[in-house]
């Protein structure tokens, strides 16, 4: 099937710590997965369960220079731990979920918060807020074989050296195995999938000139710098 009518897009990849490239198929994200973040967004974690949404595979940005996105006056950072899958399936049990994990990375779900507020107001889709170009920032993937199951440990995000988000992976409402199990009831998971596991409290705006760092205990840190957009 190589008879393409024009050049296909390049395979999107994320570097693996220690060498090699992880090819990305899809990006799934969990929203509302830390109680204190649900509260800061005006919700009650007892009333609203976490939700899944998606980003395009080619929204991956591996850090460094980041151009301010189109169409927003309120770009927000959401520091997250990201899981990379080496296999998948449907109706995966929590007991076997870990066997599908290739590794983990520090990530940032960038969000056009103004467009998300407009979407919520109209009960419309979140895609203009969440599926933005370069909106899935991710650091190098550390193989699970090096660190085991990552179900606890600190996660933090700083802007210009000042800590804005600080929590622990053990505070996720849906645990890692539960996320994989639930997601596989909705979509067939496959090798190459990335799952952003939700952000803790402390989300806020990024502006041109900001330097953002996300650290997850045991993983390579992620750094990016926000530049003015040209064109």
């Amino acid at each position: 099937m190589s008879d393409f009518v024009f050049a296909p897009p390049e395979q999107i990849v994320v570097p693996v710590a220690g060498g090699g490239l992880f090819p990305v198929r899809r990006i799934f994200c969990v929203g509302k997965n830390y109680a204190d973040h649900v509260k800061e967004m005006g919700g009650d974690p007892k009333d609203v369960p976490p939700v899944f949404f998606t980003k395009p595979a080619d929204a991956v940005h591996t850090g460094g220079k980041f151009n301010f996105p189109l169409a927003t006056d309120n770009l927000h950072h959401e520091g997250e731990m990201v899981v990379a899958l080496k296999s998948g399936g449907t109706h995966i049990s929590e007991a076997t979920a870990a066997s599908h994990i290739f590794g983990y990375a520090a990530g940032c779900d960038l969000t056009r918060r103004d467009l998300q507020a407009a979407a919520k107001e109209k009960r419309g889709p979140w895609d203009t807020a969440k599926a933005l170009d370069d909106g899935a920032v991710i650091g190098p993937i550390t193989p699970a074989s090096d660190i085991g199951v990552l179900d606890k440990g600190s996660i933090s995000l700083s802007v210009n050296g000042e800590t804005r988000q600080q929590s622990d992976l053990s505070l996720m409402i849906w645990s890692l195995p539960e996320i994989i199990a639930r997601l596989s009831g909705l979509f067939e998971l496959k090798a190459g999938d990335l799952i952003y596991t939700g952000t803790p409290e402390g989300v806020g705006a990024l502006v041109v000139g900001d330097t953002c760092r996300i650290e997850v205990e045991g993983l390579s840190p992620l750094d990016f710098q926000v530049y003015e957009r040209h064109g």
Binding site: M1, D3, F4, V5, F6, A7, P8, P9, Q11, V13, V16, G19, G20, L21, F22, P23, R25, R26, G31, V48, V51, F52, F53, T54, P56, A57, D58, L70, A71, K86, T90, F102, L115, A118, A119, K120, E121, K122, R123, G124, P125, W126, D127, T128, K130, A131, L132, D133, G185, L186, F187, E188, K190, A191, G192, G231
Partner: protein
Amino acid sequence: MRDYVISPPTQPAIPVVGGGWFPVRRIFCIGQNYLADVKELIGDHVKETEDEAKKAIPVVFTKPADSICLGGNIPLPLSTDNLHYEGELVVAMKSGGTNLSPSAAEEMIYGFAVGCDLTRRDLQEVAKELSGPWDMAKAIDNGAVVGGVMPEKEFWALEEARLMLSVNNDVKQEEDLKAMIKPVWNIISDISRYFEVKAGDLIFTGTPSGVGQLVPGDRVRIGINDLAPVEFWISEP
């Protein structure tokens, strides 16, 4: 050869009428682009006149590139008791950019195809109720059914075209494409204000009135004049 740690996925692609394959990068979809459909879905709450609808922020959602399905047998998707069909005109892009004018956007069209946006309507209703994301309803596996792409020059009669969708030979959707609130080049222009449009993008341009449920055993056929028709049937999961 790049040093992949796992096998990379296959490039999603759809056939071009006359030969070759159109490689898919992203799939954008527009909701509420036919006024009758807007009324059908939100009932008495519709207050927009056609002029207001034209000026509104577009309802844009996405599907994964590999949710492309070329028709044939489709097992009932996971986790739904109310799978809906939405017959649509699909635009395929050969180039793109940001903040495109409608006339610039028109020059970047590669061709047109017939498509069906499959939707887990029950999950969409929950999403709307909670002001949540639509992806669990819309980004479903095999959820972007699309036929062969006809290169643009061979489908010049867009304004005169009519979409027809039938289920088990009963016509369920039938509408002129000129009944769209926004024509295709304005849709592309709108999307390019939020996302950089690129070669390989598919745009589902919205569905007319008459959407409804599909159950195992149902056979769907969608046609738009002389574009390649789409045919599929739903089987038990």
